[in-house]
């Protein structure tokens, strides 16, 4: 559906934010996972027609996105990573305004759209309040509401859950999950759970390159029997890093739990774990960085 080929983007300061990215995104929810600064937002903006890549092509169905940005915008819903609001404008008025800009100009259609989305995003009660006073979660829900206007065929949500508390995050992901399966939804995030919970397909981007892609289940299956876990003291961490390919560490009850990747049981008290998506992500990151 969305097909990205050989996409490269070099910023004015010489930073190569995208390096020969090629990606096929099918219908449904697609997760783009990557650490901060990996080029996710650059990729999202390029697809959203907000910047023209240095080279490469983007196609959405029949639309050549780079040559006909206008055509893509007519079927695009975009929630940027970080967006602001106009002062002294209420949620209702702003959504109404966005509806006009997105081509829903007929007053009745507009009212239906705005009211339905306000209800759907649970913003009905505060529709007359100024957006400037909204909390982060409310603002993100407003963001998804505006992205859904006009029944878009391509929806891009860039880092939507960053900074949300768990409750807000849940609410937001539920919203996303409701979006029909007949559209392409790209969810860019650095939070593994977002992808794990929602996406039947995903890709991992590191330093401007796509290093892994596939269905989360397949990727996790590929790690079967290769991830091992051990709880150690903090002091032992350095030694462990030297000996094993440590892909992640986290604290638990004051001690450090490490995951290492190994084709065979490393012994030494390591226990096998069934690799989660997080392990997929961290092992991919680890090997990508090693390669770099």
């Amino acid at each position: 559906m969305l097909s990205i080929k050989d996409l490269t983007h070099v910023y004015a300061n010489g930073v190569r934010a995208l390096d020969d990215v090629s990606l096929e995104v099918p219908k449904g929810m697609f997760g783009l996972l990557g650490p901060n600064g990996a080029g996710k937002s650059t990729l999202m903006r390029s697809v959203a027609t907000l910047q023209t890549p240095t080279s490469g092509s983007i196609r959405f169905g029949d639309i050549d996105v780079i040559a006909q940005p206008e055509a893509l915008r007519r079927t695009l819903g975009y929630l940027p990573q970080d967006f602001g609001v106009y002062p002294r404008v209420s949620a209702y008025d702003m959504l109404d305004h966005m509806a006009v800009l997105k081509g829903v100009a007929d007053p009745k259609a507009r009212r239906d759209t705005v009211e339905s989305l306000l209800g759907q995003t649970n913003l009905w009660a505060v529709r007359k309040k100024a957006l400037a006073g909204f909390s982060g979660g409310m603002r993100q829900r407003f963001g998804i509401a505006q992205a859904l206007i006009g029944d878009p065929g391509l929806i891009i949500v860039d880092e939507p859950t960053a900074g949300l508390d768990p409750e807000e995050r849940n609410r937001f992901l539920n919203l996303l999950a409701e979006i029909g399966e007949n559209v392409v939804v790209i969810l860019s995030t650095h939070i593994v759970e977002d992808v794990a919970d929602l996406c039947p397909a995903m890709a991992i981007i590191v330093d401007g390159r796509i290093v892994r892609q596939g269905a989360p289940a397949d990727l996790m299956a590929s790690l079967k029997g290769r991830i091992w876990m051990k709880t150690i003291d903090k002091a032992e961490l350095e030694a462990a890093r030297l000996r094993y390919q440590v892909i992640s560490t986290r604290l638990f009850a004051g001690r450090t739990v490490i995951h290492v990747a190994a084709d065979t049981d490393p012994g030494d008290g390591f226990a096998p774990v069934s690799g989660g998506l997080e392990d997929v992500y961290f092992s991919t990151l680890a090997s990508a960085r090693k390669a770099a």
Binding site: Y86, A105, D112, L118, G150
Partner: protein, 1202 residues
């Protein structure tokens, strides 16, 4: 701790951009005022650019403007902590409230004070620049800089700092601080409205917060030499004003301390908002039921229109809802209100006029338009950058909104904002009209004369600003570019780049008149608007093409995108715009540079200089005299065009044979179609100067007469870049014969007079009138050198619906072929100075004292017609018996349009008056004001004697014989009409005007009998001198002398009389003890300083009162530069008066005079005892200001002890 906080704050403030921006801006302003020839703040040719007075005055003005900067400094010192969220962190430390508040304040104030050092620095830098003319600079006087900075400016900065610091600290809001600035300006405006009138000077000096009134009061009569060398003493109002406002400043600081609390008490704004949201969420009804699938977008014309409107509404809302807009609008409205209110109150002689729409528009023009330009530039930046600053850009840019849906709605939004802002100005003006009791609301005039042209011009500026912002890498860079553009548009003109074809959004001004509307002047202005609108459209399309949609910040990719965006309709519109731009530009150029000459003011100066260099050498040559004039003038008011055919009869009165005649046309653009001198041929032509020399085939013998015939055309084809032809207009043509007919020989008319400019062009330093008594000068009359009394036969034709008028008696009128022709013939010779007028007049004629008195007026201005006729009656009643019989059977007052000037002029039996001067005068509403209509009317009527019966020689004192005597005549009419006790307001006005004007003298102040056409001397001082003279030697004695003078000189040919002869006539009528008085009045610059120190009343046993006055007196002589030396005051008498009301106050009349005695006075302190019958309230010496007294307000004081 205090010092640490202050130091920290000081360093913080000095690192802020505002510190440097303000410092640089004010250095430039101050520098420019000294280093540029074209900016003058109080300096004149005689007052140095770095005179102490100029430095003090400009520092005060800069300090007041600085209020906006100090507010930015001090208002945020506390608010900042709330905004950044650091407040609670700081409030929880151990720092004390005093240290925190005043440490911060002190630091910020010191930073503001440091930044204000820019002003003295700018002056200093400017005065050492090598290109500055040394003659315009005085010596470096450090005490002037110290005084101006420390004593004058710093307290002003402290006051504004304290007030706005207090306000911001107490309200915790920057917005309220700026609202406070506006409030402060309102208060100040009300103050000056109330206090800015005669008699209130001392109250104003004390209470005016910035000390400008106090400084003004202390120095108002300073002469050039005083302004160059003195500083006002730190005493009296100058000191008390500072102390008072220092105390008030500290009061505000104390108030801030009292009302400020560390603990915020209320939750922060953010918290409050969140709480409100939570409450809202609880109270809300259940959400709407889910609808089916969302509607799909539709892209058609309706959507496009909806998008345009939605974007426009949002952008407009963002302007209208921002507090800054209201501050700017309020500021514009307030400044306008002050202007609108005052403009009808400050006509000639402090008279009042009706607030007609034209006058209201004049008042709005400067201030309101300037504020709209600020709004346009400021909000263009805000609107263009709004999405990026608010970070809504990505959402909006990714929508399906077409590319035009960014720039077009923003342009539309700012345009609508500007139009509605202008609409507010109309509302404000109409409210003022209503308050002033004027109910003729001319909405059409407001729209066509004001809103439409102004809105277009400011919208053009807004479009430029939008373009600049669209391509600029930062909002502040864009604003900076616009400020540079503003400065350049001001400076370029001064440098001689005056063409509106390269001055963006400019065009020729359109003079307004009730009589003539916009005339044909609007045509040129709108051609320029078309030209610049096309250019603005080009800018808009380029801005559209380069609009930064998306997150790309680099310019290069946007430039690459340009061609693609220009494909389609945008490119077509662009091509059209280019075509209109080029086409209209070519047409404009043909009008301004081909059909009409384009000249800058520098070209004109050069022309004047070359004129003098080429032709002045002929000024001594003898020329024949014109004795009869026949003019046949065809006026085409709508063309505009004047065709003149004329014949002069010239006579050789020189006593020698003449070989040459020099024929000169004053107007260089006048086309001379034919010019023939009987028995002569053209010897030389100076075409550039419209100057020709004829040589007689046979020299012209003494007493011989010949004819000079000519045909000239004066016209304007199309429109000019500037300097439109104002004398021939659709309705209200007013020409004089100098504009269309030749002169013989050259005089000083039209040559450069300014000393600095003469130096610049290598001319002799001064071109002055011949000295008083110069026998060579007596051959020439003051008015023109080539003629005096002529028989005139003028035929004037114009369009049929207008009335043509020229001096002389109308002997015939005919209408044929759509034209009306009238012929005017004199019965006896008149002065060779004719007016030619034509308009659609209403006429009122009354025959009084055998004189047909008519007023020709515009039907819109009937208010003062009867008063003018009454004035004529009063004037004739006085002048006929006291001077000589009126020489005509008719007298006509005629209205002419305001753009031609705000003056009145007297031609033989014909007095044109500007519509802006007396026809809209509101003479009846306030009897305490000077009756301007009668005063000016009596003056002009008196010129039928002084100017039209007798004219002096062309030498020093010439204008005394004309203007001073007309002033005297008018004063006598006023004295007899209103009584001698009411004359003080006239004398006081003349005295104030004279004393104030002395400081502005560019060359040299001269005694009255040597006046060189200096209005403040021949009008203002002349009135005072003549009134005192008749007061001292008697009105009848003065009139006897005038009768004698008229008898000797009326209608006589050369040699012409001079001022010495008139002074001698006065001497002959004056007793021996008044001879010194005549010397003082006419031959010297004499000043007095009379002061009543105490006036004590004591009741006598017989029920009457003894009033003991202690007075101090001094007499001074001044030289031409204003340097004074004390002279003994001996042998003079003075009025000593006791009153029950203060002379000059509103209700004062003869009933309030208890005693008025004439008593001897000498230098120094002396006492008088005056006995009066009733309880005295006021007493004083020279209470009616008959003497030229440097401080006339301390003559009368309240009586104590009664």
């Amino acid at each position: 701790m205090f010092l640490k906080i202050a130091g920290f704050e000081f360093r913080y403030q000095t690192r802020q951009p505002i510190f440097w921006v303000a410092a640089i801006l004010f250095v430039l302003l101050a520098f420019g005022s000294v280093a540029s020839d074209n900016i003058q703040l109080g300096s004149t040719s005689n007052v140095h650019k770095n005179a102490p007075w100029v430095i003090a005055q400009s520092s005060l003005i800069f300090a007041v403007i600085y209020m906006f900067v100090t507010t930015a400094f001090v208002a945020n010192v506390v608010v900042r902590d709330d905004d950044t969220g650091y407040g609670p962190l700081i409030y929880s430390t151990r720092v004390s409230k005093f240290d925190y508040l005043f440490g911060r304040f002190t630091g910020a104030y010191l930073a503001a004070a440091l930044s204000f050092l820019a002003v003295p620095l700018g002056f200093l830098l400017g005065s050492v620049m090598p290109w500055v003319d040394r003659e315009t600079l005085g010596p470096f006087m450090p005490q002037a800089y110290l005084f101006a900075y420390f004593f004058l400016a710093l307290p002003v900065l402290l006051l504004s700092s304290a007030i706005f610091f207090a306000l911001a600290t107490v309200t915790r809001s920057m917005m309220w601080a700026y609202v406070g600035v506006v409030g402060f300006i309102i208060l100040r405006s009300i103050f000056s409205l109330v206090l800015n009138r005669q008699g209130m000077e001392s109250a104003a000096a004390l209470w005016e917060p910035n000390g400008i009134a106090a400084f003004g009061l202390a120095t108002r009569y300073w002469t050039a030499s005083e302004r160059n060398s003195l500083l006002p003493a730190i005493e009296g109002y100058v000191l008390w004003n500072k102390l008072l406002w220092l105390a008030i400043s500290f009061g505000f600081l104390g108030l801030a301390y009292r009302l400020f609390h560390f603990e915020t008490g209320k939750a922060s704004r953010k918290q409050r908002r969140a709480e409100k949201l939570a409450v809202a969420a609880q109270d809300a009804p259940a959400p709407e039921p889910q609808a089916g699938p969302l509607p799909r977008p539709v892209f058609n014309g309706a959507t496009a229109r909806a998008q345009l409107w939605a974007r426009t509404r949002l952008d407009m809302g963002q302007v209208f809802k921002s507090p800054a807009y209201f501050v700017l609008l309020a500021l514009a409205a307030l400044l306008s209100i002050v202007n609108l209110w005052l403009i009808t109150d400050v006509s000639l002689y402090g008279g009042r006029t009706y607030p007609v729409t034209r006058v209201m528009i004049t008042a709005l023009n400067g201030v309101f338009s300037a504020m709209c330009v600020i709004i346009a530039i400021y909000y263009s930046g805000e609107l263009v950058w709004r999405e990026r600053e608010r970070r809504t850009g990505e959402i909006i840019d990714a929508t399906a909104a077409p590319d035009w849906a960014f720039i077009l709605p923003k342009t539309l939004a700012i345009s609508l904002v500007l139009v509605s802002t202008f609409a507010v100005s109309i509302l404000v003006a109409m409210i003022i009209q209503t308050i002033k009791g004027y109910y003729h609301y001319d909405i059409g005039e407001y729209l066509l004369w004001w809103l439409l042209p102004q809105a277009i011009d400011v919208i053009l500026i807004a479009i430029l600003a939008i373009f600049v912002q669209a391509v600029s890498p930062h909002k502040f860079v864009g604003w900076g570019v616009m400020v540079l553009w503003l400065i350049s548009s001001l400076v370029l003109g001064n440098l001689g780049f005056e063409h509106n074809l390269y001055q963006y959004a400019s065009g020729p001004s359109v003079p307004l008149s009730d009589m003539n509307g916009q005339g044909h002047f609007w045509i040129g202005a709108y051609w320029f608007r078309l030209y610049w609108s096309a250019f603005a459209l080009i800018l808009l399309i380029c801005a559209y093409g380069l609009w930064p949609r998306g997150t790309e910040t680099r310019f290069q990719p946007r430039l690459r995108r340009l061609p693609r965006r220009l494909k389609g309709p945008a490119g077509v519109v662009l091509a059209l715009a280019v075509a209109v731009f080029v086409g209209s530009g070519v047409y404009v150029f043909i009008n301004t540079n081909v059909w009409n000459p384009y000249r800058t003011h520098l070209d004109d100066e050069r022309y004047q200089a070359e004129y003098e260099k080429t032709l002045w050498r002929f000024h001594d040559l003898p020329e024949p005299t014109i004795t009869a004039v026949k003019l046949d003038v065809d006026l085409y008011p709508h063309a505009p065009k004047v065709v003149t055919r004329g014949v002069y009869r010239i006579e050789n009165r020189t006593g020698g044979a003449l070989t040459d005649v020099h024929v000169r046309f004053l107007d260089r653009d006048l086309q001379v179609r034919a010019l023939a001198l009987q028995g002569a041929r053209l010897k030389a032509t100076y075409g550039r100067f419209n100057y020709r020399i004829f040589e007689f085939d046979v020299p012209m013998q003494p007493g011989e007469a010949r004819t000079l015939s000519f045909e000239t055309v004066r016209e304007q084809r199309g429109f000019k870049n500037g300097g439109q032809l104002l004398s021939v207009v659709d309705n209200g043509t007013f020409l004089n014969n100098f504009e269309i007919a030749p002169l013989l020989g050259i005089d000083r008319e039209g040559l450069l007079k300014d000393r600095a400019k003469r130096r610049k062009y290598g001319l002799t330093p001064e071109l002055r009138e011949p000295k008083l008594g110069d026998p060579a000068a007596a051959r020439f009359s003051e008015l023109r050198r080539d003629s005096d009394w002529v028989n005139a036969d003028i035929t004037l034709s114009t369009v049929a619906d207008q009335t043509p008028i020229a001096p002389g008696y109308r002997v015939s009128t005919s209408v044929a072929n759509g034209r009306r022709t009238s012929r005017f013939v004199t019965e006896a010779p008149i002065n060779h100075f004719f007016s030619l007028q034509s308009a659609r007049y209403a006429v009122k004629t009354v025959v009084q004292r055998d004189v047909a008195t008519s007023v020709y007026y515009d039907p819109k201005h009937p208010w003062n017609v009867d008063r003018m006729i009454k004035t004529a009656d009063a004037g004739l009643a006085y002048y006929d018996p006291n001077f000589s019989p009126y020489q005509f059977r008719q007298l006509r007052f005629l209205e002419f349009p305001a753009p031609a000037g705000a003056f009145a002029q007297s031609f033989a039996n014909t007095v044109p008056w500007s519509e802006g001067l007396v026809f809209i005068a509101d003479a009846s509403s306030d009897p305490s004001r000077i009756d301007m209509v009668t005063y000016v009317g009596a003056h002009e009527l008196a010129h039928q004697w002084w100017g039209h019966q007798v004219v002096g020689a062309d030498e020093q004192g010439g204008t005394m014989l004309i203007e001073t005597l007309a002033q005297y005549s008018a004063l006598m009419v006023m004295k007899h009409m209103y009584g001698p006790d009411m004359i003080r307001k006239f004398l006081k006005y003349e005295l104030d005007s004279y004393l104030r004007a002395r400081g502005g003298e560019a060359l040299e102040e001269l005694p009255l009998e040597r006046v060189e056409n200096q209005p403040y001397i021949h009008y203002r001082k002349g009135s005072l001198v003549m009134y005192r003279l008749q007061d001292e030697i008697g009105e009848e004695a003065v009139n006897r002398a005038l009768r004698k003078f008229l008898h000797a000189h009326a209608f006589r040919p050369a040699p012409y009389p001079n001022a010495l002869e008139l002074v001698n006539d006065f001497r002959a009528e004056a007793p021996a003890d008044k001879q010194q008085l005549i010397t003082d009045l006419f031959e010297r610059i004499t000043l007095y300083d009379l002061k009543t120190k105490t006036a004590v009343a004591k009741k006598r046993p017989d029920g009457r009162w003894d009033v003991t006055l202690t007075v101090e007196a001094k007499k001074l002589y001044a030289n031409g530069q204003g340097k004074e030396t004390e002279a003994p005051l001996v042998g003079e008498t003075v009025d000593v008066g006791v009153f029950t009301a203060e002379p000059g106050k509103k209700d004062f009349s003869a009933r309030n005079v208890l005693a008025m005695e004439r008593l001897p006075i000498r230098s120094g302190v002396q006492t008088y005892v005056v006995t009066v019958a009733a309880k005295p309230l006021f007493a004083g010496i020279d209470p009616y200001n008959k003497r030229i007294d440097r401080n006339s307000s301390d003559n009368d004081i309240k009586v104590t002890g009664a």
